[in-house]
């Protein structure tokens, strides 16, 4: 399955791995800068064909790998999962966070020599938000004043953006947001040069000219390869690798091909098929070539909170208590997944609340039965369980269904259907039962889990078809929860904001169990650490190519 945009998050992944070192076997060289890194070398890896590498529409992890090496924006997410300045020298909101001012490092250029100034940012953001671009990621710019007009085609300029001088970017917000700066590390916030033209410029789509640590060597050879070379005029700390050769692999078995390529010495970094993880760990962990960590993401069940047998919170708790997460993690996932007890994953170190989902912690058959009786979830009740085929979900879905049958006597109807059909089904007003689901945040804030998945505004029902248009497909709605989220985005202080998000999660997950967490997003990679130094994974689960160097 194609790595999705849901993986394109941010992350705090690296942070966890470093903190929980028992979980991470780490790279051989953990001291960047302790010796002078050599320039040179060609780093090779495989990805599946991205949707786009032009920042206006870069969306999934693969595209992000390329675009992030071609472009540098205002901020970056450092290895410990915190936002830090990249080209921005300061980022300041006004009192009510309705206006943000970014000071930009002066004197840097795109690889064609054009200056990277405030106007270049205005250009990039305007280009992505324009109606004709029909960009899938432009919604990240949606809080900025004038987005609606530009996106609907009634304006051609971005009213909320201004560049009073070359190094100052002023952003007026339509929706005040005290954590807007967290968003700006997303590739859609990249600056572009004048030669970029409109989003429809096919030549630029396939060979973007950027201001990142690397630049394209020739255009993207679709379904074949993408080659990057070091950008020696990069405005920040220069990269060491001479070249990055990215082979494009078939989506259906990319992890198999990556791993075979790694075994044959053809790739320096690879994912593995689930069934080969045990063998791979045995071979590569001892060599120091093994990475394993819980990344920024969550696997959960999506119950229909507004309809059918999962309408009451007792029913949802009964289902949650009936599932033995640890047994499935061990039996089906061979220990390569960890059980979840929260919606905001442990990778969000500061916001994570251990055990906020009380029914997730341990299987409790008696409690499950008792709650089921209370909810009228009697033995023999029909429960629909939808999931998408082709994602390797079949074994665990069957295991969960069997447990629900054994413990609660439910008549679980498992329905494996293609992905788009599943999503369509979840959106309908007569949907019932539970659905397989997963999520990863776009930026390192708990709000990016709570808001899209659970806020009332994220239901966004279509007035004629009554289908959900947002991502809150269980149609959870709780005014107290909504109010806390609103308060959080209006709070400047990070610690206070995190507290508010925690309270919100306590309501939606702790009290209402609007979604049923199952497993954390555990990740595994192999890397050729005999050859490379300063190589680890970043928040997008990609290798840190901008810092890696030959040993």
């Amino acid at each position: 399955m194609k790595l999705t945009k849901a993986l394109q998050w941010t992350a705090v992944a690296a942070a966890t791995a470093l903190a929980v070192s028992a979980c991470s076997s780490g790279s051989a060289d953990k001291h960047p800068g302790s010796t002078v890194a050599k320039n040179g070398g060609t780093f090779r890896l495989g990805i599946v064909e991205p949707t786009a590498i032009d920042p206006y529409n870069t969306q999934e992890s693969e595209g992000t790998l390329v675009t992030q090496n071609l472009f540098t924006g205002l901020t970056s997410v450092s290895a410990d999962g915190k936002i830090s300045n990249a080209l921005a020298e300061s980022r300041t909101p006004n009192d009510d966070c309705s206006q943000w001012t970014f000071k930009i490092k002066g004197g840097t250029t795109f690889s064609n020599g054009e200056p990277v100034d405030a106007a270049a940012f205005v250009r990039g953001w305007t280009r992505a938000a324009a109606k004709d671009a029909a960009s899938d990621v432009a919604y990240h710019l949606g809080e900025i004043d004038g987005f609606k007009e530009l996106n609907s085609g009634t304006a051609v300029t971005f009213r909320g953006l201004s560049a009073p001088d070359a190094t100052t970017l002023v952003v007026k917000m339509a929706i005040p947001d005290c954590e807007f700066d967290v968003r700006t590390f997303h590739t859609v916030f990249s600056p572009v040069p004048q030669v970029a033209g409109a989003a429809s410029n096919k030549a630029y789509n396939d060979q973007p000219i950027g201001n990142g640590p690397f630049k394209m060597e020739g255009p993207w050879q679709h379904n074949s390869k993408i080659t990057l070379v070091r950008n020696d005029s990069y405005g920040l700390t220069k990269a060491h690798l001479d070249r990055i050769e990215i082979s494009i692999l078939n989506a259906a078995n990319a992890d198999q091909l990556e791993y075979q390529g790694f075994q044959a010495g053809q790739f320096d970094w690879a994912r593995m098929p689930t069934e080969q993880l045990t063998a791979a760990k045995a071979t590569y962990k001892a060599k120091g070539d093994w990475y394993e960590w819980d990344a920024n993401g969550m696997n959960y069940l999506l119950p229909m909170d507004f309809n059918g047998p999962t309408k009451s919170k007792e029913a949802r708790e009964a289902i949650s208590y009936a599932i033995d997460r640890d047994a499935i993690a061990k039996g089906v996932f061979k220990g390569f997944r960890t059980s979840a007890d929260s919606l905001v994953p442990p990778a969000f170190v500061d916001a994570y609340q251990k055990g906020v989902c009380a029914s997730c912690v341990k299987q409790d058959k008696d409690k499950a039965k008792q709650l089921a009786a209370q909810a009228g979830l009697t033995p023999g009740t029909k429960l629909y369980f939808g999931y998408n085929t082709g994602g390797g979900h079949d074994p665990w879905v069957q295991a969960v269904a069997a447990q629900l049958g054994d413990v609660l006597g439910l008549d679980v109807h498992i329905d494996g259907i293609p992905f788009k059909q599943l999503l369509d089904k979840e959106k309908t007003p007569d949907a019932t039962g539970i659905y397989r689901a997963a999520w990863g945040a776009d930026y390192p804030t708990p709000g990016n889990f709570l808001n899209p998945l659970l806020a009332t505004s994220s239901i966004d029902e279509d007035q004629t078809t009554h289908k959900v248009q947002g991502d809150n497909r269980g149609r959870y709605s709780n005014p107290a929860f909504d109010a806390l989220l609103h308060q959080a985005t209006g709070t400047k202080d990070l610690a206070a904001r995190t507290k508010l998000y925690q309270q919100a999660e306590k309501i939606a997950i702790g009290d209402d169990l609007a979604l049923i967490p199952l497993w954390n997003r555990s990740q595994q990679r192999v890397a050729n650490n005999e050859k490379w130094a300063n190589l680890t994974y970043d928040f997008s689960e990609n290798p840190t190519l901008a810092t890696a160097s030959l040993k």
């Binding site: 849901a6 969306q59 432009a138 074949s224 053809q266 293609p418 992905f419 788009k420 497909r473």
Partner: protein, 309 residues
């Protein structure tokens, strides 16, 4: 002959139109909104973007209108734009068709050389050790699934021995060998058995006996009478097989990361990337029909008794 060709070409157009019509109807019946969510993502697409894309692709129009528009563009060589990358379908499929054709040609060459050669030798040395071995090995091979052969070859020659790269360039001739053998191996076994069977039959035919009795040199008997008459069923089989191969070999292309139309088809179906699905299927039907015609024409060349009318 000319009339025959014209009639067959006319039939072809009808078949192609029928095929695209059925495809369109099928895609319309499948539930799920092809542009309703991001590619492969759980995330809903912005309603404004969905609306823009529907208009862009004409999905807001009735199916009949979409179909007529599609056919209108198709005759001009325009297959539309795909839903994911928004690139012209012809530009996406062009290199894939070349890759699939390369693989198909290489596989057919192996088929003919190995299959027909081995089968002919077995027939000539009937009940010899060679014949028994051929019968045995081909029986086993015919029962092998393609993916087993492909995985074994890839693991042995690319991962273990490293004679060829796991991920190679389709323009590198060495790269085609393993997938071509994978594709050819089962077919070659079938061809060998077919060749052996028909050749044994022909060897017993009266005209062969007559030729030998007349004192025609053995070499000439074999080449002129036996071989020529034995290859007719083989040509049919290989012709049809070639048509199938040109339509894309999903499993083999997947195992060897061969960027062909088979792989494109399977990915496109999963993503509901309908313009690619219709494009590949139309190509598959078209090439199959064309090759059937070619096979029929070759019959007439090989066997003068067959009249095309």
């Amino acid at each position: 002959m000319g009339r025959y060709l014209l009639r067959r070409l006319g039939q072809m157009i009808v078949v192609l139109l029928g095929a695209t019509l059925i495809l369109f109807a099928c895609l319309f019946v499948i539930p799920g909104d092809p542009v309703g969510s991001l590619a492969g993502s759980e995330r809903a697409r912005d309603p404004a973007v969905v609306k823009e894309l529907r208009e862009h692709y004409g999905l807001d129009k009735p199916l009949a209108v979409q179909y007529v528009t599609y056919i209108g563009h198709l005759v001009q060589g325009d297959m539309g734009e795909d839903y994911i990358q928004r690139r012209p379908v012809s530009e996406i499929l062009g290199p894939k068709l070349v890759n699939t054709s390369k693989l198909a040609v290489a596989a057919i060459v192996f088929d003919v050389l190995i299959g027909a050669g081995v089968g002919a030798l077995a027939a000539l040395r009937r009940y010899s050790l060679w014949d028994t071995a051929v019968t045995l090995v081909t029986t086993v091979l015919v029962g092998f699934p393609t993916f087993v052969i492909g995985m074994l070859l890839l693991n042995l020659f690319a991962v273990q021995l490293k004679w060829v790269p796991v991920i190679g360039d389709a323009s590198d001739p060495a790269q085609v060998i393993l997938p071509a053998i994978t594709l050819a191996i089962i077919d070659a076994a079938l061809v060998a058995r077919l060749m052996r069977g028909t050749m044994l039959e022909v060897l017993r035919a009266d005209y062969v006996k007559t030729a030998i009795a007349k004192g025609v040199p053995r070499r000439q008997v074999l080449l002129k009478h036996v071989l020529r008459n034995s290859v007719i069923p083989v040509v049919t089989y290989i012709g049809i097989s070639f048509g199938g191969l040109l339509g894309g070999a999903i499993i083999t292309e997947t195992i060897f990361n061969w960027d062909g139309v088979g792989m494109a088809m399977s990915t496109a179906i999963q993503q509901q990337n309908n313009p690619i699905v219709v494009g590949v299927a139309t190509w598959g039907v078209g090439i199959f029909v064309v090759l059937n015609l070619v096979v029929d024409l070759m019959y007439a060349m090989l066997d003068p008794r067959i009249r095309l009318s």
